[in-house]
């Protein structure tokens, strides 16, 4: 038979077989670290961070205007890492005044409460994904739902707090409701955008191959909107975290947001700073976790590769 048709593809297999040295993971990690260390920009970044801490220390030492209540970075660090009074020693140099750090329970409780609230809210807001997918699939559903949706979206989530307290008489529910509202709109909107972003040619191809409407929903719309769904989840998580702080300040007990206000009232600056940085850090961690999930789910999105 003819030449081209039956000639088997050898390229992918052959390349995979030709790997002379098997690099272990540890070695790869070591090589990567070595490379990063020699990068000029890495050291510049470190310089920037160092300059920031120096500036902080200077601001404390030289009592810049308006910064009387600021503590030095070292003091804050000690507060964070040393045990509270009486736990280990009686030496005041080795103890934390307010006990807000890795040795006390308060910090962990705060983190736990905040994370628990956010998880609940985020889980509820994932309802937005099927709603968004349905809106993208059927024009009629979109017409009905989009108008009230867009009218309610600009209302800032925090302004829901008084109403939420009225609606849900319990302590925790208003805060969770608040974060759910905040995240829900972002998730739904992005899912809708995701469905809209699917190239119409895929719909045509699916129809050609004999798909029913439901098949198109399952095999084209859901996977095709996935990238935007993840973007929506990331944004939703960010907005929910954002609103969580506000909600806790106004209506909560325990929780990192509440802690910032509490520290402000008690003029406990280290607590304030620790709480602030923890909020930022946990927010970043959640984002990183979600991104890892995204990378696994969107394995088909090749960054490199020729485009047709």
């Amino acid at each position: 038979m003819a030449k081209i048709l039956t000639k088997p593809l050898s390229a992918p297999r052959a390349e995979a077989a030709e790997q002379p040295v098997a690099y272990s993971r540890r070695r790869i990690l070591w090589l990567k670290t070595k490379k990063a260390l020699t990068e000029r920009y890495f050291w510049l970044g470190l310089l920037g961070i160092f300059a920031f801490f120096v500036g902080w220390d200077f601001a404390y030492r030289f009592e810049l205007p308006r910064m009387e209540k600021l503590e030095s970075p070292l003091y804050t660090f000690r507060e964070f890492t040393l045990p509270p009074r009486g736990a280990l020693t009686y030496n005041p140099a080795f103890e934390s005044k307010w006990g807000y750090g890795i040795w006390g329970t308060a910090w962990y409780t705060d983190i736990g409460m905040s994370v628990w609230r956010i998880s609940q809210a985020f889980a509820w807001s994932l309802l937005g994904i099927p709603i968004g997918l349905l809106m993208g699939w059927k024009r009629s559903i979109r017409d009905f739902v989009f108008a009230p949706f867009e009218l309610m979206r600009p209302i800032p989530p925090i302004s829901w707090v008084p109403l939420a307290i009225v609606m849900f008489p319990t302590q925790e529910a208003p805060i969770v409701f608040l974060c759910t509202i905040a995240s829900f709109f972002a998730v739904t909107l992005n899912t809708l955008l995701g469905v809209d972003s699917i190239d119409p040619v895929y719909f045509r191809a699916a129809r050609c191959l004999g798909s029913s409407e439901w098949d198109i929903f399952r095999h084209v719309i859901i996977p095709g909107a996935m990238p935007f769904i993840f973007t929506g989840m990331l944004i939703g998580l960010g907005v929910a975290w954002f609103s969580l702080v506000g909600g806790e300040i106004i209506a909560g007990t325990w929780g990192l947001g509440y802690r910032t206000m509490d520290a402000y009232m008690n003029v406990a600056t280290p607590q304030l700073l620790i709480a602030m940085f923890t909020i930022g850090f946990i927010g970043m961690l959640m984002g990183v976790g979600l991104r890892m999930l995204q990378r696994r789910a969107l394995a088909w999105k090749a960054k490199t590769g020729e485009s047709i």
């Binding site: 048709l5 039956t6 992918p12 191809a205 129809r207 996935m226 590769g305």
Partner: protein
């Protein structure tokens, strides 16, 4: 002659025939020689002769030889192949038969053999019986060719009450079943519009399109794209979130034609046959653009469509890959003999691939010229510099160039 009669006597099915019959059969025998790689007949042909192998070897998929030869290979002298020609009530088609070395065969005209056998009722009937028996054992016949396309006065106007853009105006031509039709024209001349109408993505505003005698497109008709006319798109429409194997098995599974295991086996077999083995578990984003085009064509073929619609599929490939893909497409065409409706803006590509070239004018798109290409198949790249090819090109290039100039001056962008 005497030798021939003795040789025919050795043929299994003729063993009971008397000398007189054998003489008559020898009379209608024709000796034919084929070189290595020559094609005796192609898939979908309805040969009127059947052949007795004198010497040589022939590849014949799904043959059950008279002496129990290897499946797919006819090596022994006095073996038969192509006896569908004889059994008249089963008008079956056959697969391509290619010669693997220098071969000599005796071609016997089926109709005449039937007459001869009828004249000798005693043994003739037995011979026919044996032939029918052999036919029943053979597997996998190609069904009769289908997919004849008929376009009659097709017209499409976009936004009739508003901007009123006439995309296509009064196009008429016919594509025979199993033919390769290529439509050439400048950008914006409405060829994609025509393809969309045939595929069922868009409606005509006037005229009709028939496929195998059935109306598939007319003004006001409900749009229903389906797997009997599958499109291979210009920009590529392999689902990027599915692996290559999932893409190829998508059609059969979703139409509930077969279970997953079956579909996977069939898809793997077809991919193996066409040389795409080894990439099943990769995503489209990880394979090269040429491979993607091939996978997309295979994805269409696996569904056994009546007509394959190709919308400038090789447009985005570089010229070298393109020439290889042309030969690839032609080999697939030889194998499956589906009706193909191909759109391009490249005249050489059109003449090289087609049986029928349709030249369209720039907007509004009308059929300017119909050219029947009589270059022999299988076509090779060497034909691109043959005399006949250049003659055909000469006939067509004036018209195409004129339209290209008009389109350029109008500065049209592509519609749809």
């Amino acid at each position: 002659m005497e030798e021939l009669i003795r040789f025919l006597g050795r043929v299994e099915i003729f063993k009971d025939c008397g000398r007189g019959t054998l003489e008559k059969i020898a009379g209608v025998c024709e000796e034919k020689r084929f070189g290595r790689g020559a094609i005796v007949y192609r898939t979908g042909d309805a040969p009127d002769c059947f052949y007795v192998l004198k010497q040589g070897a022939v590849s014949h998929p799904s043959v059950v030889g008279t002496r129990g030869s290897d499946d797919g290979l006819v090596r022994s002298p006095a073996d038969l192949f192509g006896f569908a020609a004889v059994v008249e009530e089963m008008k079956r088609r056959v697969f391509t038969v290619e010669c693997l070395e220098d071969t000599t065969v005796y071609a016997i005209n089926g109709a005449r053999l039937r007459e001869i056998l009828k004249m000798d009722p005693a043994t003739g009937y037995a011979v026919m019986q044996r032939l029918a028996g052999l036919m029943a054992k053979a597997q996998g016949f190609v069904p009769a060719r289908s997919g004849s396309l008929s376009i009659r006065h097709a017209g499409k106007i976009y936004d009739p009450e508003g901007i009123h853009v006439v995309a296509v105006e009064d196009c008429s031509f016919e594509v025979p079943a199993g033919g390769l039709c290529v439509v050439v024209g400048p950008s914006g001349c409405g060829k994609t519009t025509l393809l969309n109408t045939i595929a069922g993505f868009d409606n005509l505003t006037s005229g009709e399109v028939h496929l195998d005698g059935q109306l598939i497109a007319a003004p006001g008709r409900e749009l229903k794209p389906g797997p009997d006319r599958i499109v291979v798109f210009q920009q590529g429409a392999l689902f990027p979130w599915k692996t290559v194997l999932d893409n190829v098995t998508y059609g059969p599974i979703i139409q509930r034609k077969m279970k997953k295991k079956e579909a996977v086996a069939q898809a793997l077999a077809l991919m193996e046959k066409v040389g795409l083995a080894g990439i099943e578990s990769q995503f489209p984003g990880e394979i090269s653009s040429g491979m993607r085009r091939r996978v997309e064509i295979v994805r269409a073929l696996v569904n056994d469509p009546k007509i394959l619609l190709l919308d400038e599929p090789f447009r985005a490939l570089d010229a070298l890959t393109k020439s290889v893909m042309h030969e690839y497409l032609l080999e697939l065409y030889d194998l499956s003999h589906k009706t193909i409706f191909f759109i391009t803006h490249d005249l050489e590509e059109a003449i090289f691939l087609a049986d029928l070239v349709v030249i369209m004018t720039t907007r509004p798109g009308r059929v300017k010229k119909l050219i029947a290409v009589d270059l022999p198949r299988p076509r090779t790249y060497r034909m691109l510099s043959s005399k006949r090819f250049l003659e055909l090109k000469q006939q067509t290039i004036e018209g195409v160039h004129e339209e290209a100039l008009k389109a350029f001056e109008a500065g049209e962008r592509e519609l749809a």
